[in-house]
Amino acid sequence: MCLAVPGKIESIHGEEALTRMGRINFGGVIREASLAFVPEARQGDYVIVHVGCALSVIDEEEALQIFQYINAMRDDSVPGGP
């Protein structure tokens, strides 16, 4: 039940802090989620949603770092590896 999944904010409705909601696209499936905890979230952002509440806006710069890290990694165990 602790599952939390990334989804893209399609639209935002409600202005009041406690009741601000978003329509979130999870790979084609649209669900409503509370945006009460991500006041900075804008349409088009990806958020992590857990039990119907967005908990964090995903940072794209940071997300790309793991791929840069792996690509730059010397593959010591493979002779002549990159």
């Binding site: 602790c2 995903i58 790309l64 010591d76 165990s77």
Partner: protein, 379 residues
Amino acid sequence: MIPSREGPDMKYLDEFRDVAMAQKLVRQIHHRASRTWTLMEMCGGQTHAIMKAGLDDLLSPCIRLVHGPGCPVCVTPMHVVDEALDLASRPGLIFASFGDMLRVPGSHGDLRGVKAAGGDVRVVYCPLEAVKMAIQNPSLEVVFFSIGFETTAPATALAVRQAQQAGIHNFSLLVSHVLVPPAIETLLADPDCTIQGFLAAGHVCAVMGCTEYVPIADRFRVPIVVTGFEPLDLLQGILMAVTQLEANHGQVEIQYSRVVRQDGNAAARSLMGSVFERISANWRGLGEIPASGLGLRAEFSAFDARKKFGLQKFADLDPVECISGLILRGLRKPVECPCFGASCTPEFPLGATMVSEEGACAAYYRYRTPSTSIPQPLP
């Protein structure tokens, strides 16, 4: 496919399951580890992902992964399930719960049984749905079974605040929230502890940040790497922990930086703090841990189902044959339980670790019973 800023949109799922990249990380871990290191992944979601991708087999023998108590369904004590059964059986009351809790055995049956016998038990995905139910059913009482870690508590706090704002009086909570850092401390203080490093639960830290872990890493000189849930996340987290262990470091590091900020989510933390306060809590398998749970603050006691319905205290009677207490402390593996797959299966679980998808016993049953014991390829 390697995502780039110019490439197609990141979806934050498939990119983190790239097999070639995972294999490169696996080789790097084998290369870097000079001996066997024992790491605990804290969260049941991580356990599930590790088993599904077969990461434990790919990393053997240099990494021994033990599975932590980070599954809220698994650590909810039996006396709380008994309280739920009592409430759910009462007429004029809707008992709203996350689906996983319906199969957790109490001392005399489970919520599924209460529902079959006519109890109004309803599955909700989000605590806010329970508030809606209360608004739509003014003549009935609605009780929400409020379990979970720091990841879930903000959502329940929001439900309480929305109910307060709506001025409704037929909504209350059966609260059994627990907190991760006191559990890590308890595990490390155990003289039998074999854990040398932790993969902390990324989504808990998305809310709470990482500061609470710093004194624990210092005191026990143990690496704590805040890690995500996809294969590449888990492998990078393990590599970071191994790198620290090989250098004799014990620090807090964030692998899951696309989601976790150093100081967490201020809005969620402050709402949680306005509704809940820290209390001593009882964990299935770990026992009573001081300041490891959340209870409603006095000003919200009207939302406390225990007070509202004058619930009696139930004794804690864990089934004697179930060794989930040892499994939740990382001292045993599910397959070492004599009941595993015999008298205990996901359909008829003896202990809670066999109920939830994220429970260690259920994850082993699904991915490691004899018919599926061949290491699975990466997803």
